[in-house]
């Protein structure tokens, strides 16, 4: 009998906590179009796979009347569960409980699940929905943030870390997501900033809404803080599940291999890239013509669209793509696109995902803005990331590869393992127009008809250098291949490099230019 009583008591205790911040707070949360923290975890994980810990933890606030308040679970839910059958660790802040504010025990719960994730070598997913530090707890709240940042850094490159912003994430709280590998945002729900609109208005006098200052679109398009943009929470959870299914659980594994499949017939690789080098096209169609089922999971789709990055599978194996996008800003390299690609390459390298680079770029973007924005420093990140990475690297020059851009985009010189070029590739130090103007400056100036002479010299340069054979003659290109052979060559290269072992000198850590 007493056993029954005890289990009833347990049930009642749990239910009180399941109720979060109460009916009113939950209604308010729903009115904003948001799910509750518990609903989110259930929507994210496989059915009935969630195991919760620290449910009875109580808060540690003793001042300003807080001692009399009950904060169920101290405003955060932690636990482990499965995504597509693989275990993950999760925490979700509960905005209905004291605005999801982070106090001492709240942070302790988060750091506990972070320690679990690191020790068990499983991915960590954090759902952020919090007003910020619990001011009543003073420096204890700040200490909590610091402990979280430290663990984010420790786990970096060991387990994949994912942050989901489903509500406000302001002040110090933004730096945990910034330290993680992938940040997911939802339109009209996510808000991230260091100082909010009220503070900006008071101090600077600038007026702006929270959405315009740090909404999902801002971070997806302008700042590059967010990696995946969704229109609804459900879509967002679908994106997370898809990503988790494609990447390994930790840095000692490779991503799980799945049943191979051919690309869809509608993506005909021989018909996508126009011969005319001034004609744009969508490089994502080339990727879709190369990957299984033409399924490409693009990362940071809206930021620096002149560089495309993302995951796909070739012959069932997960690979990372880095590709210039001629359809956006001619596919130039600039500060943002270098930064975007460099970070992605380092993720792939850390988690044993081969990197496939598709090259079609005119070079670095000239301009005062770019130079003053630090294109030297940001561009160097890309060189660093390629040179440092030891996973299998396969490069295909689709069309243009000019100047510094040729070197930066996974060239042989930065230790790509396989470098292929299509027959109409142009690999040279600069474009024919620019080169002819410099080399034949005197001839053009002294000619009777300078315009005609100029055209003639451009043609001369084009014939001599705007092809892949000069580079192939030096062995910088391993093979000149027909577009339709590309997938076969990549499959073979992946098979050959399965046990690749390319060492780098031992060091404490390198010093990438960030």
């Amino acid at each position: 009998m007493s056993e029954d009583k005890k289990s009833l008591d347990l049930q009642q205790r749990k239910e009180r906590i399941y109720f979060g911040g109460g009916k009113k707070a939950i209604e308010k949360q729903k009115a904003m179009g948001k799910m509750t923290a518990r609903e989110r975890i259930i929507a994210l994980l496989d059915e009935d796979s969630f195991y919760e810990y620290d449910i009875f933890v109580e808060h540690d606030s003793h001042d300003f009347g807080m001692q009399d308040k009950e904060l169920p679970g101290d405003g955060v839910i932690i636990g482990t569960g499965d995504i597509c059958g693989s275990p993950v660790a999760v925490f979700a802040q509960d905005f209905t409980v004291a605005g999801g504010s982070l106090g001492f025990m709240h942070a302790r719960k988060i750091t506990k699940i972070m320690d679990y994730a690191l020790n068990m070598r499983i991915p960590l997913i954090g759902i952020n929905d919090s007003g910020g530090a619990r001011i009543q707890e003073g420096v204890n709240a700040l200490a909590g943030y610091g402990e979280i940042f430290f663990r984010n850094t420790l786990s970096s490159g060991v387990i994949p870390q994912i942050s989901v912003i489903l509500g406000p994430c302001a002040g110090g709280a933004v730096y945990s997501p910034a330290l993680t590998d992938f940040v997911f945002v939802v339109d009209n729900i996510s808000k991230m900033f260091i100082t909010g609109p009220e503070v900006i208005k008071t101090v600077i006098g600038e007026e702006i809404t929270g959405e315009e200052l740090g909404g999902a679109r801002v971070h997806s398009e302008l700042t590059g803080n967010a990696h995946f943009f969704a229109h609804s929470e459900d879509e967002c959870f679908g994106q997370i599940r898809q990503l988790i299914s494609m990447i390994p659980a930790n840095n000692t594994h490779k991503a799980e291999k799945v049943q191979p499949a051919a690309p869809l017939a509608e993506f005909d690789i021989t018909k996508i890239v126009p011969d005319d080098p001034t004609m744009p096209y969508d490089v994502r169609d080339v990727i879709k013509a190369l990957v299984d089922d033409s399924e490409f999971v693009e990362v940071m789709e809206l930021f620096a669209a002149n560089m495309v990055i993302g995951f796909g599978r070739v012959n069932g194996e997960t690979v990372g793509f880095v590709a210039n996008q001629p359809a956006a800003m001619a596919g130039v390299l600039d500060c943002d696109s270098s930064d975007k690609a460099a970070r992605f390459i380092r993720f792939c390298d850390a988690f044993n995902i081969p990197i496939i680079t598709l090259v079609d770029l005119p070079g670095y973007l000239p301009g005062i803005n770019q130079e003053h924005a630090g294109v030297i420093r940001h561009g160097a990140k890309l060189l660093y990331a390629y040179s440092e990475s030891t996973v299998a690297k396969i490069t295909v020059v689709l069309r243009k590869a000019y100047g510094g851009g040729y070197i930066a985009m996974g060239s042989r010189h930065l230790r790509s393992d396989f470098v292929f070029a299509w027959p109409h590739a142009e690999i040279a130090v600069m474009g024919p127009e620019g080169a002819a103007n410099i080399i034949f400056r005197k001839e053009i100036m002294e000619a009777e008809n300078p315009a005609e002479m100029r055209q003639q010299k451009i043609q001369e340069y084009k014939e001599k250098f705007a092809n892949p054979y000069v580079a192939a003659a030096k062995g910088y290109i391993d093979a000149v291949i027909a577009p339709e052979e590309t997938r076969k060559c990549i499959e073979h290269a992946l098979r050959v490099s399965k046990d690749k072992n390319a060492g780098r000198p031992k060091k404490k850590h390198g010093l990438p230019p960030f």
């Binding site: 101090v203 004609m279 001619a330």
Partner: protein, 105 residues
């Protein structure tokens, strides 16, 4: 140099501080709202073709300008439906980055 010239007052939410300002802080531009009605040059380039004139009605996706930049002929399309209010460029113009080339209404 006098102290007044070297130092300025920085006001934050927590109070006032006497401080030196860095160059990039002084040179920052005020924030302005981006509107899809203003078609800006997104990088320096040359105008090859202008497909619309003042008074034309355009639909989202209609081609506005053929813009040559970085060895590529970029097709610049309307982001929204509208009427062409102003064309601030001519064929052959070399435009720097950030110029409002076409205004819609």
């Amino acid at each position: 140099m006098s102290e007044e010239k070297d130092y300025d007052i920085l006001v934050t939410i927590d109070g006032e501080y006497k401080t030196r300002f860095i160059k990039s802080y002084c040179n920052r531009k005020p924030w302005h709202k981006v509107t899809p009605q203003e078609v800006e040059s997104f990088m320096p380039g040359q105008i090859l073709e202008i497909c619309v004139k003042v008074g034309d009605t355009v639909k989202k996706g209609d081609e506005l300008i053929l813009f040559k930049a970085m060895k590529m002929n970029n097709h610049i399309k309307a982001a929204v439906d509208g009427k062409v209010k102003a064309v601030n460029i001519a064929v052959g113009d070399n435009v720097p980055k950030g110029v409002v080339m076409i205004e819609l209404e």
